[in-house]
C-alpha cells in the first residue's frame, strides 16, 4: 500500500477512488458479523464464491462481505444491489436461485422479506418497516463497507473528517465543533463529549503526555452495538479516535475491547495496520507533525471494567476495580496522566460531525440530546436487531413500528433498558421519548442502549433476580455495600421467587436497594438497585402476588408454578397428570384426574379457552403446545362418568345456602357446598339450568344432551332447583335472608347487551346477540331472516353469526368488525370455522347508521377504518376514513359488541342491595369473593364481565370454600399456597429407536355441507391412536417435582409414538 505523505495527497487519492467509474454489475451483499456468522452466513458466502467461480461469473456479479447490518432476526440474508432486494433467512440451496435471478434482472419472490404470511413481500429494502422508520447515520455505513478494506471506507467519505481537521490545524476548532453538535457520551452516562475533550485538553498534569481510550468493553447482556460497529466499520472508530487524540493533544490511543469479541479485535487490528501503512496513523501522520498511534488492549471480561477508572486500572495491569473520583481521569488517568475515555459509538459519531458540520448534525434528535442512538432490540420481539433512531423517538415507535411488536400471542408488558444497571419501563410509559434525562426520570438509564423486550410471559421478580445474580457476580467487590448488598438483594429475591418471601422482606429489599444506590463508589453499584427499584415501582403487585398469594402470573417462578399447565388453569386441573395417564392408556385414571377439580369436564372439553395450552412449555419451545383440550374431550367421550364417586366431607348441616343463577358458577358452588353437606337452593330465571352454557353456546359447539347429562350428574338430594324465579321480582337478597338462608351466592352472569347507541336500534329485526341466541336455544324461535348482519368480533358475535347461518330463512351472513382479523377477540378456531362456513367477514368497518323502512331494519351504513396510532395495548386504533361510507343491506341485524351484568335486578327499589363498581359489575373483595353485605358472595360474569366457563367454575369453587368458612365462623382470607404436582405418574417409555416427535394433532371436523342447516357437533373426538400420540408429546414438567429422588437411574426415556397416524 502506498504511504500518503500529505493531506493533499490523501484528498487526491480519495477523489481518485470515488471518481473511479462505478461498476454497473450487480452486487450480492452478505452480512457476516458475529451474528451473521452464527446464523450461517459463512456457509452462504462459501457457496456464493463457489458458484461464481464454477460458473465463471466473476465479471458479471460481485460479492461484498460486510459486518452486521442490524436486522439480525433475518440473518443470514443477501442484499442485492442496486435493486436493494432483501432475501432473508437464506439457506445454501437458495443461493443459485438468487444468483440466477440477479443475473437475469429478476427477483425471487418467495425469498423476499415479508412481515408475516398475511403480508405481501417487499421488493426494495427501503420499504421494509424495520429499515424505513430508522435513521441509520452510523449503522448505514456497515451496509456499504467491507470492514477489512480501507478503500471501501475511503470511497464512502472515510478519513475526510480527519483531513478536514488536519487542514484546519486547530484543535480548539474540533472541540468547539463537537461541543456545538451537542454530542453526549453514548456509553450510558451521557456526559457531553465536547466538554470532556475540553477538560482533557486543558489538563496540565502529566508533563504533556495524554491518552485517549476507546471503551469497547461492552458487557451488558443483550447489547452488542459496539461490537457491530467495531466489526463492521472499524475505520470510523479509528478516525474518531485520531480526531479525538488531536483535539486533546494525546499521542497515544487505546482500544479496550472485550476479549470475547475476537472478530471485532481482528478487524480493528487489520484497520490499524492498514491505516499505519497508508500513513494515516503513526508518527507524523499525513505529514502533519502530529504523532498518534493506537494499541488494542483485550479485556478479560469483567463487567466492571467498563467503568472508566476500573478500565484504566485494567490497562495498567492491575485488578480492575474503580477508584474514587475526583480526581477524574481527564486530570489523572492512565499512568497518572490526563486521559479521555469515549465509547465506540461516540467516536463513530465524531467523523460524521466533523465532515457534515455540527449544525447539520444537531438537526437530528431533540434539543439537549442530538444525533441518533443505536439500540439493540432483543427479547420477546419480532424483529430482533440493531436499530438506529434519532434521540427523542418514543419507545412505542421502536418496539411496534420498527420491532414489529410481540413475537408471540402474549402482549408486551415492559422493556428493560440500559442493561443490568438499567430499569424496566412498563408498557403504559411507552410514549416516553427516549433520551438520557427522561429515561433516568422513569427510573432506568440509557446505558449503552440494550433494550430487552418482555411480554406477559416474563416475571418481573425473575427479571430482577436475573440481573441481581449477574451483578453480584460482576461487582468488583471493593465496596462492601455493593458486594454484600447485591448478594443480599439476590437472596431476598430468591426467597420471594420461591414463595418464601414476606412483606417485611419486601420492605427490607427496598430499604437496602436505596442504601446500595446511595453508598457505593462507581456507576455499577449506584445503578445496581435499578432492576429492583424499577420493578418494585411499576410491578409491585407482582411482588405482592408472589409473597401473599404464592402465585407467579407469568408462570416463570418454578417453585410457585410447578407444571405450567396446572398453574395456568383457573381451577388448577392437573393437565399433566391426565395427559400422562392417556399416554399409558389409563383412561379411567385420566378421567378421575380431570373430574377431581372440574364438575363439568365434558363441557370444558368443548368450550374451554384452554389457558393451559397457552402456557404449555412445548408451545414456548418452538413447536405447538400439547392439544390438552382435545385430549380431555377424548377422555370424557370414552369414559363412563359413573366411575367417579364424589367424596362427601362432613355430615349434613342445617345452614341453608341460596344460589342465584344456575350458570357454571352457581352450579359449581351448589355442587361443592352440597358435597360439604349444606342444603342448597338454586334460583334460576329460565326454565332450565345451565345459564349461558345453555342459552348462548350453540349446540354445534356443545350438544344439548352432553350439557344436560353433565348438569344432571351433579344435582343431588342436597340441591333444590327453583326455576322461573327472577331476582328482583320473585326474590330479593333481603327476603332470602329473612327466609332463613344463612348465606347467598350471586352468580347471575352478564346478560345485558351493550347498545350501539344508533338511531333505529329499537326497530324490528334488530336483536342483541343474547336475545337472538336465547330465543333459539331456549325456545327454538328462529329470529334471523334473509340477509343477516352481525356486528362484533367476539365469541358471542361468532356464535350468533354461525347460529344464524343454520336457520331456515337465512340467505347470507355478514360479520362486521372494526379492527383487523388478527385482533378479533374470538377463539381462532371459531373464526376459522366461520370462514369455512362462508360467513362474509368485513373487517375495519364501523356501523354509523341503521337504515329502517316501515319500522323494520333494511340495511346498515358503515364507514371504513384505517389503522391509526398505537394504543396502550400496542394495537392500532381504528380511525374512520371520511367519505368511505357504504351500505350493507340486511333484513336482520344482530348486535354483539359486549355484555354487562343486568344489575337492575339487584336494585329492585332503586337502591342496590349490593355495591357496584363503576363498570356496572358487582363489587367484591378480590381475596374472599364477598360482597358489601356480609354473608353475600358473588362470582362469575357478574363480577368480571363477560368471561369464560372455566373462570366461572373457578369462581364457584372459590365461593363454596368462602361460604363454608363463613358459615363455620372462620377467617375468610387465608394465605395462598402454591399447588405443585404431587402425584408421580410413570413416564411413558418406548423401546422404539425412532425419537422423532410427532406434530400436534388437531381434531377432525365435520364437512361444511354437513354443517349447514344442522346443529350437529362440528368438532369430532380424537381417535385412540392420535390421542396417545398427542399425549406422548407432553414434556412432563411435573416430573421435576414428583419423580422419586432415591435412585439415580440412567434410563433414557425415548418419547416416541408407537404408531404414527397417517
Amino acid at each position: 500500500m502506498h504511504r500518503l505523505s500529505s493531506v493533499e495527497e490523501f484528498l487526491s487519492f480519495q477523489k481518485q477512488i470515488t471518481d473511479s467509474p462505478r461498476t454497473t454489475k450487480p452486487t450480492l451483499v452478505v452480512s457476516a458479523g458475529t451474528c451473521g456468522q452464527a446464523s450461517g452466513a459463512s456457509g452462504i458466502i462459501r457457496i456464493i464464491k463457489r458458484f461464481l467461480i464454477e460458473h465463471n461469473l466473476q465479471e458479471q456479479i460481485s460479492l461484498r462481505i460486510t459486518g452486521c447490518q442490524g436486522f439480525c432476526e433475518m440473518e443470514p440474508f443477501i442484499l442485492v444491489e442496486p435493486g436493494k432486494h432483501f432475501y432473508t433467512k437464506i439457506e445454501m440451496k437458495d443461493v443459485p436461485r438468487v444468483i440466477e435471478a440477479t443475473l437475469s434482472g429478476k427477483v425471487v419472490e418467495d425469498l423476499l422479506y415479508r412481515e408475516s404470511e398475511h403480508h405481501t413481500s417487499h421488493i426494495n429494502q427501503d420499504d421494509i418497516p424495520f429499515f424505513k422508520k430508522q435513521k441509520r447515520i452510523i449503522l448505514g455505513k456497515n451496509d456499504l463497507i467491507d470492514p477489512i478494506r480501507i478503500f471501501d471506507y475511503i470511497k464512502h467519505g472515510g478519513y475526510l473528517a480527519l483531513a478536514k481537521a488536519l487542514m484546519t490545524g486547530n484543535p480548539e476548532w474540533i472541540i468547539e465543533e463537537i461541543q456545538r453538535s451537542g454530542l453526549r457520551g453514548r456509553g450510558g452516562a451521557g456526559f457531553p463529549t465536547g466538554k470532556k475533550w475540553e477538560l482533557a485538553r486543558a489538563a496540565k498534569n502529566g508533563k504533556g503526555q495524554k491518552y485517549i481510550i476507546c471503551n469497547a468493553d461492552e458487557g451488558d447482556p443483550g447489547a452488542y452495538m459496539d461490537r457491530s460497529l467495531l466489526e463492521g466499520n472499524p475505520h470510523a472508530v479509528l478516525e474518531g479516535l485520531i480526531i479525538g487524540g488531536i483535539a486533546i493533544g494525546a499521542t497515544k490511543g487505546y482500544i479496550y475491547a472485550r476479549g470475547e469479541y475476537p472478530l471485532a479485535i481482528k478487524h480493528a487490528l487489520i484497520a490499524i495496520r492498514q491505516a499505519r501503512e497508508m500513513g494515516i496513523l503513526g508518527e507524523n501522520l499525513l505529514n502533519s507533525d502530529i504523532d498518534f498511534d493506537i494499541e488494542i488492549v483485550r479485556g478479560a471480561g469483567a463487567f466492571v471494567c467498563g467503568e472508566e477508572t476500573a478500565l484504566i486500572a485494567s490497562i495498567e495491569g492491575k485488578i480492575g476495580e474503580p477508584k474514587q473520583r475526583p480526581p477524574f481521569p481527564v486530570e489523572k488517568g492512565l499512568w497518572g496522566r490526563p486521559t479521555c475515555i469515549n465509547n465506540v459509538e461516540t467516536l463513530s459519531n465524531v467523523p460524521v460531525i466533523i465532515s457534515k458540520g455540527a449544525d447539520q448534525y444537531s438537526k437530528v434528535g431533540v434539543p439537549g440530546n442530538s444525533g441518533t442512538k443505536i439500540f439493540s432490540l432483543v427479547g420477546k420481539i419480532k424483529n430482533t436487531g440493531l436499530v438506529e433512531v434519532p434521540m427523542g423517538t418514543t419507545i412505542r415507535e421502536i418496539i411496534y413500528d420498527i420491532g414489529g411488536g410481540s413475537v408471540g400471542n402474549a402482549p408486551i408488558k415492559a422493556v428493560q433498558t440500559g442493561g443490568p444497571s438499567g430499569g424496566c419501563i412498563p408498557a403504559e410509559k411507552f410514549d416516553l421519548a427516549i433520551d438520557y434525562d427522561t429515561l433516568a426520570e422513569a427510573g432506568s438509564i440509557m446505558g449503552s442502549g440494550g433494550m430487552i423486550v418482555m411480554d406477559e410471559n416474563s416475571c418481573m421478580v425473575d427479571i430482577a433476580k436475573y440481573y441481581m445474580n449477574f451483578l453480584k457476580d460482576e461487582s468488583c467487590g471493593k465496596c462492601y455495600t455493593c458486594r454484600k448488598g447485591t448478594q443480599r438483594m439476590f437472596e431476598i429475591l430468591e426467597d420471594i421467587s420461591q414463595g418464601k418471601g414476606t412483606l417485611e422482606q419486601l420492605d427490607l429489599l427496598e430499604e437496602l436497594a436505596h442504601v446500595v444506590a446511595d453508598t457505593t463508589m462507581c456507576g455499577l453499584g449506584q445503578n445496581a438497585s435499578n432492576p429492583v427499584l424499577s420493578t418494585l415501582r411499576y410491578f409491585r403487585e407482582e411482588y405482592i402476588e408472589h409473597v401473599i398469594d404464592k402465585h407467579c402470573r407469568a408462570g416463570v417462578c418454578k417453585d410457585l408454578v410447578g407444571a405450567p399447565c396446572q398453574a395456568a388453569c383457573p381451577i388448577g386441573t392437573e393437565a399433566w397428570r391426565y395427559v400422562a395417564h392417556i399416554a399409558e392408556g389409563e383412561y379411567e385414571k385420566a378421567y378421575l384426574a380431570i373430574r377431581e377439580t372440574n364438575p363439568f369436564p365434558s363441557i370444558c372439553s368443548r368450550v374451554c379457552d384452554h389457558k393451559c395450552e397457552e402456557r404449555c412449555r412445548l408451545g414456548q419451545t418452538g413447536t405447538d403446545p400439547v392439544a390438552i383440550r382435545a385430549l380431555k374431550r377424548f377422555v370424557t367421550d370414552n369414559v363412563d362418568p359413573a366411575i367417579y364417586k364424589p367424596e362427601r366431607t362432613g355430615e349434613k348441616k342445617s345452614d341453608k345456602v341460596a344460589i342465584i343463577g344456575a350458570g357454571p358458577a352457581g352450579l359449581t358452588a351448589a355442587h361443592n357446598l352440597s358435597l360439604k353437606g349444606y342444603p342448597v337452593t338454586v334460583f334460576e330465571t329460565d326454565s332450565k339450568p345451565g345459564g349461558m352454557m345453555f342459552s348462548c353456546i350453540p349446540a354445534y359447539r356443545l350438544p344439548r344432551e352432553v350439557l344436560e347429562k353433565e348438569i344432571d350428574s351433579i344435582l343431588d338430594e342436597n340441591i333444590t332447583m327453583q326455576f322461573n324465579t327472577v331476582l328482583g321480582k320473585d326474590i330479593t337478597i333481603d327476603k332470602l335472608f329473612k327466609d332463613g338462608y344463612k348465606s347467598v351466592f350471586v352468580g347471575i352472569g352478564a346478560q345485558k347487551e351493550r347498545r350501539l347507541k344508533l338511531e333505529g336500534e329499537e326497530s324490528e329485526g334488530v336483536y342483541p346477540s343474547i336475545e337472538f341466541l336465547k330465543a333459539y336455544n331456549v325456545n327454538g324461535e328462529q329470529l334471523a331472516k334473509g340477509r343477516v348482519g352481525v356486528i362484533g368480533g367476539g365469541n358471542s358475535a361468532l356464535d350468533a353469526a354461525r347460529t344464524a347461518l343454520r336457520q331456515d330463512e337465512v340467505e347470507s351472513v355478514n360479520l362486521l368488525y372494526r379492527r383487523t382479523r388478527e385482533e378479533m377477540p374470538a377463539f381462532d378456531e371459531e373464526i376459522e370455522a366461520a370462514f369455512e362456513e362462508k360467513i362474509v367477514v368485513e373487517t375495519l368497518v364501523t356501523p354509523v347508521r341503521i337504515i329502517t323502512e316501515n319500522g323494520r331494519v333494511r340495511g346498515i351504513e358503515c364507514i371504513r377504518n384505517k389503522l391509526g396510532n398505537l394504543d396502550n395495548s400496542g394495537r392500532r386504533r381504528p380511525v374512520p376514513i371520511p367519505g368511505s361510507e357504504f351500505i350493507v343491506p340486511v333484513d336482520t341485524l344482530i348486535v354483539a359488541i359486549s355484555e354487562q351484568p343486568d344489575t337492575d335486578s339487584i336494585s329492585p327499589e332503586g337502591e342496590p342491595e349490593l355495591s357496584l363498581t363503576e363498570w356496572g359489575t358487582l363489587e367484591v373483595d378480590k381475596n374472599t369473593s364477598s360482597c358489601s353485605r356480609p354473608g353475600v358472595f358473588a362470582g362469575g360474569d357478574v363480577v368480571t364481565g363477560p368471561n369464560t366457563v372455566i373462570d366461572a367454575i373457578a369462581a364457584g369453587r372459590k365461593a363454596a370454600v368462602m361460604i363454608d368458612r363463613y358459615l363455620r365462623g372462620e377467617e375468610l382470607w387465608q394465605q395462598g399456597q402454591a399447588y405443585l404436582p404431587k402425584v408421580y405418574v410413570e413416564p411413558y417409555s418406548s423401546d422404539s429407536a425412532d425419537s422423532e416427535v410427532s406434530q400436534r394433532v388437531e381434531p377432525e371436523q365435520v364437512t361444511r355441507e354437513q354443517r349447514l342447516g344442522s346443529f350437529k357437533e362440528v368438532e369430532m373426538t380424537l381417535s385412540e391412536k392420535s390421542a396417545k400420540c398427542e399425549a406422548i408429546r407432553c414434556l412432563r414438567c411435573d416430573l421435576e417435582f414428583t419423580q422419586p429422588k432415591t435412585e439415580k437411574t440412567e434410563k433414557v426415556i425415548v418419547r416416541t409414538p408407537e404408531v404414527v397416524e397417517q
Binding site: 451483578l471 467487590g477 454484600k484 443480599r488 422482606q505 442504601v515
Partner: protein, 235 residues
Amino acid sequence: MISFELNGLQVQVEEGSTLLEAAKFFGFPIPTLCHMDGLEPYGACRLCVVEIGEGSKAKLVTSCTYRAEEGLKVRTSSERVVKARKMIIELLLASTPQSKVIQDLAAEHHVMQQRFRQEHEDCILCGLCVRMCKEQMVAGAIGFRGRGENRSIGTPFDMKSEQCRLCGGCMYVCPVCTLRCTFNDPDRAVCGGCANLAAPCVEEEKFHDLMCYMSPCVACEIVEYEKEKQTKIEG
C-alpha cells in the same frame, strides 16, 4: 488552607486533607472499619459516608477518600447518612456477628437487630491486611483475588508466600478476627471482650474458609487449647 462547611460550622483545613481527617480534627466522630492512619485510604467498608452538596445534587461519599474542597457543605450525621450507616452495620452484623469490633459498632449505633439470613463469615474484605502488608511491611505477600461474591484475600495460588515474614501485621489490623490473632492465650488478646466467644476457627463448619496467612497456622493451637480446657472441665 481550604475552608468549607462541616455540619454547619465554617472550618479550615490544610489542602489535601480528607473529610475524615477534618471531621476527626474538629471532633465529629465518624465510624470506619477500613481506615487506619498510616495506610492509604481505600474506601471499602463505606461506613464513613458523609453527605455533601445540596438539594437534588446532594450525595453520599466516603469521607476517607474524599478530599476537602473549597466551599463544600458536609454533613456527617444527617438522616440519610445515619440510615445508610445503620444498614451497613446491619449487613455487617448479618455476615460477621462474631467480631467484637462490629458488635460494639452495632451497640454504639443502636442497631438492635439484623433482618437478613445469618451468616458466619470471617472477612469483610476491608483490605487493611493487604495494605498493611504492602505499605507498612513492604512485603506485598497477600492481595485481593476474584470479584463479586468470589472476592477473597490470599496469597497467589494459596501457596505459602516467600514474601511473608510472619510479622502478624495482617492479623493485628483485622477488625473481624481479633481472637485468632492472639495466639492461644486470652489474657494476651488485643481486646479481651470477645474471649468468651467461641473462636471462629473452632466452629470449623461455620468458618470453612479460614484466612490465616501465617504458617504454621495458630488456629489449630487454639483448637488444642480449647480441647485441653474442655478435658480440664470434664476432668
